[in-house]
Amino acid sequence: MHILFEPGFFTCGPVRVALVIGAVTALTSAVVGVFTVVRSQSFAGHALTDVATTGGSGAFFLGISPLLGFIGGGVIGAGAMDLIGVQRIRSRDMATGIVLGSATGLAALFLYLDTTTSATTGATQQILFGSIFTIEPATIPLVVILSALTLAVIGLIYRPLLLSSFSAELTRARGINLRGVGLLFMITMAVSVGLSSIAVGSILSTALLIGPAAASVRLTNSLRAAMILASVLGVVATWLGILFAYDSFYWIPSGQALPVSFFIVSLVFVFYLISGLDVVRRNLGWLKAERLTTGSTPQSALALASKVEL
Amino acid sequence: MTNIPVLEVDNVGLSFSGRRILDGVSFEIHGGEFTGLIGSNGVGKTTLLRVVLGLQRPDHGEVRVLGAPLSPRSRSLGYVPQKVVIDPDIPMRARDFVALGLDAHRWGLNRRTAHQHELVEEMLHDVDAERFADHRVGSLSGGEQQRIFIAHALISQPKLLLLDEPLANLDPKSVQEIVALLHRVASDHRVAILLSAHEMNALLPVMDRIVYLTDGRAASGTTDEVVRSEVLSKLYGHHVDVLRLHGRVLVVAEPGRDNDDIPQHPTLTIK
């Protein structure tokens, strides 16, 4: 046990901050991610991480908290995508790709300016790959509030969101503003991507958004079960990642720790691969026992997801 | 006309997911013949064409082209698939696509002789495509694209041209035009044609032979030989009547039987 938990792990201040922030952001990403996956909006999710990168690096340059930059960039991106109408369309890959490319190019510029104008170093690695151990404890309340708000919004639009994932016509027929729901959801995606960017960095936050979600959608039969399982997977991956990164400081001869985000992404990746193994699917069959009813539409939302190739 | 058949399909069988799609299908096509492969949707026409092209291997049986076993690289077969979607953003003119029919199999950059350019011009003329030859392939209408694909397949002078459901989704006038075009082009270029369709009436004026496919089994011969009550009843396994009216053929099952497996135009079906 001593080997696993290197000295000072639980008493180290930054580690505690990391554990809290990591858990909260992973949880939010996992829950939002389940809907992303079910609605086949992984491409939009990935696009949001690019604009979050631009936002984060720009904020760093302007001396604003990167968290605000990540979220701000993402929200602006969500709005722009809604305007252009790329919510469910991934066919304009080339065009979107080029636009995202310029956003990333802009991020490159900001990061360059960061390193030459400010006294701090390591902007690139912080923004892109995260710096969970150097987060100010004072950010915790903000992160918790934003996460809570995001989850509350999901809870609020749960039924319309679910319905609109099945059928656009049904949603409209019930007088629900389809586009409004879609935009609101994009914004929750932007916020969760922004939040997890401070933990694992913006270009890796896709992993926390879709990894645990995709794995759990494969293994469960109801949205609620998927959200719970995804949260568990996300938080476990994050905590273990923090642990291993901390330990790697002691394990690695040169004394250079490996980045937390590397461990978190690897664990998420491994969890996803494991979720695909038949032996796992068979033995976790009990997870599929739960059935979903959303009021008057007694239908398994994940029957829809089964149409989505995962 | 040589004596060796251009195409011999010899007792070909193919099963998929427990279903017998093709069950001992045999027929021959000789040089210059226009053959219609008739069968209702889903009966296995595309599968049969794919087997003939060598894109799918049958469970048993053999396909021979000009007496020799199939080789994908033999250029004796030309193919026009059912639905080809081409992005209108792709920078290739119709005439360039036809030219590719000559030499897409060659290595190296485009090096086309004046003679080859002439061949392309002639081909475009033959299929009535000069009007839109310089337009992008992807921006052509369905009917225009079809002519281009036919030209592309024909320019390498195959002995047999296979077309998969070229008449589906066409209005009656276009159907007549394409059938006439194919007939003309086939005799001009001395190429045999095997064309699949779910309705035989449009082809009656030009068909030399028919291969009638149902439930994996086929009957082949001239229209008069095959489209008869006795022959088709045996094929279907239940009684069907064949009526001839105003030069058109109508195949009707007994009352109470499903007419779904009888290939014809929906408005001709009698319940």
């Binding site: 690695q125 040169s254 590397f262 | 698939p81 199999h105």
Partner: protein, 268 residues
């Protein structure tokens, strides 16, 4: 601007642009946007690994790019779903970050690998880069007609015995080769803008295949030259200029297409 170590930069940039223009033409034709993202991410991990092992970066770039290319080929054949491909992309980046964390030059290395470095190719590497470039171009030239037909009408190509699967694998290997030599200059995260922008723009201006490819090369050259010049003057990253100029050319192309449509003008 043109002497001394900058001479390297111009030579490297020119080769990079020609290869990106030629290979990118087919990337766009085949719609291989995913490969264009994924292979450079692999290249990043490879370069980072090479940096750690103090090995020639071209080797790391080459090995990992090739691995990524073949992996993509295998995954597409088996119809691999979206999630695993997205996660693999991200995994490569994380791996690269891990490798770099162990080197002493963490920050500058990350930056130049991801966003490009005007002097990303040292003078000792110009020759290998040029050789790789020639290999790419020759490969495309040899496969040219087959590539065209298998990209545009794979069914017809298959019926003619052209084996679209094999051509796909060969093409991915060419993209890997192109990535190996272009990433040091333009950066792993931004190279795809150079491979996609100029060809997508060029085909807005002509119907003819050869002209579109030539246009792709010309636009790529202009993009890279302007990027190098601007980067030299301002010290801002090359990748930034490449991505912005590529997007601009693409925008110009689409505007031209829209103008053409409303005025009923037909292209040559």
């Amino acid at each position: 601007m043109f002497t001394g170590f900058m001479a390297n930069a111009w030579q490297a940039a020119t080769i990079v642009a020609i290869v990106a223009g030629v290979v990118g033409f087919f990337v766009v034709l085949r719609g291989s946007a995913f490969a264009a993202h994924a292979i450079p991410n692999g290249a990043f991990a490879g370069a980072a690994g090479a940096n750690l092992l103090a090995v020639n970066p071209l080797i790391g770039l080459g090995v990992f790019s090739l691995g990524a290319a073949l992996g993509i080929g295998a995954m597409s054949r088996r119809g691999r779903p979206d999630a695993v491909t997205a996660l693999t992309l991200v995994m490569m980046l994380a791996l690269g970050a891990a490798f770099l964390s162990q080197s002493t030059q963490y920050e500058p290395e990350i930056f130049s690998l991801l966003f490009g470095e005007i002097l990303g190719v040292s003078s000792s590497q110009i020759l290998p880069v040029a050789v790789l470039g020639v290999v790419c171009i020759v490969a495309v030239a040899v496969l040219y007609r087959r590539l065209l037909l298998t990209s545009i009408a794979p069914e017809i190509a298959a019926a003619r015995g052209l084996r679209p699967q094999r051509i796909e694998t060969a093409f991915l290997v060419v993209v890997a080769c192109a990535t190996t030599m272009t990433v040091p200059v333009v950066g792993a995260l931004l190279i795809f803008t150079l491979m996609i922008g100029p060809p997508a723009a060029a085909r807005c201006f002509t119907n003819r295949t050869e002209r579109a490819m030539l246009g792709s090369v010309v636009i790529a050259l202009l993009t890279v030259w302007m990027a190098i010049a601007c980067s030299y003057e301002t010290n801002w990253p090359v990748g930034f200029y490449v991505s912005v100029f590529s997007a601009t050319w693409y925008g110009v192309g689409r505007v031209f297409v829209a103008w053409r449509k409303t005025h009923g003008v037909h292209l040559e």
